[in-house]
């Protein structure tokens, strides 16, 4: 080789080494700058407004006896409360969920009105919302899903890796992405509201669809691509919401068909307890487990809100708290039983806000007064539980003093998945909850 050729080739090789991006096994071009602590995070918003009085302070006995250790005595079968025999067995056997991680007993929803929707926005965006809310619009600031999809890998991070599973419709479908410039639907999470979707009406609407052969599919694609090409200049990309690739869409349709078939053949949640045990919260837990099993997403958020019946019925609020507690432990047990998720998942549990210290004027059939959530100090008190592998999260650890805010969950998730340092400064004012790290 001539000297000139050698220098030229050596130079090109060196340039290639510098310029060529490293292609990760996952198909990502660039890795996030930070180090991942785990590969999966599940954030369970134990929402609907739960007072610390009935959760960690256990003023009505231990209504969360699969998650929390007894403070003074266990579950008390008071009038109107669920019979002990009707409560399904602890999915964790003899253990309590808090043993698998850290319990933060005094966390604050420090600013903004204590409403469900802005409570959700705060948890998902890591920012308090004090402005007037348009209930049908996407959040103003990026959600944790968008941070994840944009910064945890490259911009092509699959939407199948991020899921938002809500127990209800209303404004909640809007929480899978924001209207913030540079983020938005292109980085949003897949959203599902299972109880509306996987139902008789859902099946009638979408469960009996025309099946195309592989060749027919190719033909439809050819025609559609031609049409889309002609319309590209006018197409409003935000109109389709979150976007999955053609292959991913096929996976999603297949998944929905599997869920319909599961429902037709008798969904397993029917075996979770006595008749009437499974409520909307537990249904949401069930379908979240289905998503986790199918896609093993890296970031999953679900909510439970049945306790919000507390506006009018405190007794049912307590009973729904018992069910929510069971559902959360079932979810953790499922994660630990699922290869690919076990010992590689951190689960965070937190109510979106609390409830007032003073009751409203409604009294239920058992003489118990009801409680709203109108931004008094009590409604700002919440707890959090962060569970994970022993080498990542402190086990059986309690922090009783004031520690953590609602806005800290988003940066903590970002840190756990190793992309917090890639988020532009100033967007996330909260802190990483490092005191729970092992």
């Amino acid at each position: 080789m001539k000297r000139r050729d050698f220098i030229k080739k050596a130079g090109l090789t060196a340039a290639g080494a510098v310029v060529a991006p490293y292609i990760l096994p996952s198909g990502r071009l660039f890795a996030a700058t930070g180090n991942r602590k785990v590969n999966h995070v599940v954030f369970c918003m134990l929402a609907g407004g739960i007072r610390n009085n009935e959760s960690v302070k256990q003023q009505e006995g231990n209504l969360m006896s699969t998650m929390l250790k007894d403070v003074s005595g266990g579950y008390a079968e008071e009038p109107g409360f669920l019979n002990v025999g009707d409560i399904s067995a602890n999915p964790l056997g003899g253990r309590r969920l808090q043993e698998f991680g850290s319990l933060l007993k005094d966390v604050r929803f420090a600013e903004g009105p204590t409403g469900h929707y802005n409570g959700h926005i705060t948890a998902l965006t890591g920012r308090y919302t004090t402005a007037n809310l348009n209930l049908r619009s996407n959040p103003d600031y990026p959600t944790i899903f968008e941070y994840y999809r944009k910064h945890a890998g490259d911009s092509a991070m699959s939407a199948l890796n991020a899921w938002w599973i809500s127990d209800s419709l209303g404004p909640y479908p809007s929480l899978n992405y924001s209207s913030y410039p540079g983020y938005g639907a292109g980085y949003g999470a897949n959203f599902m509201q299972p109880s509306s979707l996987i139902s008789n009406k859902g099946y009638n609407a979408i469960g009996n669809s025309l099946n195309f052969t592989a060749d027919e599919k190719l033909s439809t694609e050819k025609i559609r691509s031609f049409c889309d090409g002609n319309f590209a200049a006018q197409f409003s990309a935000e109109s389709v919401g979150v976007v999955n690739s053609i292959t991913e869409r096929e996976q999603l349709e297949l998944f929905l068909n599997e869920l319909f078939n599961d429902s037709i053949s008798g969904a397993d949640f029917l075996n979770w307890g006595v008749s009437g045990w499974v409520n909307s919260d537990l249904t949401n837990v069930y379908y979240t487990e289905k998503v986790l099993e199918k896609f093993k997403p890296e970031l999953t958020v679900l909510n439970l809100q049945a306790v919000d019946i507390c506006h009018s019925n405190f007794t049912k609020y307590c009973n729904n708290l018992v069910k929510a507690d069971w559902g959360v432990s079932h979810l953790w047990n499922f994660i630990q039983s699922t290869p690919g998720l076990a010992n590689d998942t951190v689960m965070i549990v937190m109510p979106e806000h609390g409830r007032n210290s003073e009751p409203n004027t409604v009294v239920d059939a058992y003489g118990r007064p009801a409680y709203d959530h109108t931004s008094d100090d009590n409604s700002r008190e919440v707890f959090s539980m962060i569970l994970g592998p022993y080498n990542v999260i402190k086990q059986d650890h309690e922090i009783s003093s004031l520690y953590g805010e609602s806005i800290d969950i988003a940066p903590t998730i970002a840190n756990l998945l190793g992309f917090d340092v890639d988020i532009p400064s100033g967007l996330l004012p909260g802190k990483v909850l490092t005191d729970v790290y092992a």
Binding site: W164, M192, Q193, A205, E216, I223, F226, N230, Q234, R249
Partner: protein, 166 residues
Amino acid sequence: MLVYKNNKSISLLLIIIVLFACSKDEKEYVYQIDEVEISQAGAEKPNVKTSTEYISIAYADVFGSNVPTNLLEDLKKIYESFGDKGVAEDLIIKNFLNDNSVQIPTNQEMEENISLFVTNAYKKVFNRAPNEAELWFLKDCIEKDSNISPEVVYYALMTSNEYRQF
């Protein structure tokens, strides 16, 4: 100056007279453009359909009647229950097309007059006639590809991006 102008006019007149004097009885050609209906593909559709609009219009396009109110409410719920609207629309349209009471042309009708089929499909689905390129493309596809049925065409058009807007 006036004299100069008059001379110029007279010269021009003489030239015209000479030209006409020399002309024979020749065939007269008139060159112009045939009348063609021109439409840009998907022109002027800046608005995104709401879920109600999307479902109502799709139902009317496939079944030729208004969607019953209770079905509309059910379908809206389904539409809103899934984040990827493409998936929701895909399943709704495929479900419509699998119904026995669907009102789209048969295979035989399509084969008999492909141009008419394509034109009618565009008018029904996109609310406009296809332009020449679109007509040629789809006609060519149908002629060359035996997999293409009316269902395939209607499904492809109704799940395209243009159908999402008006």
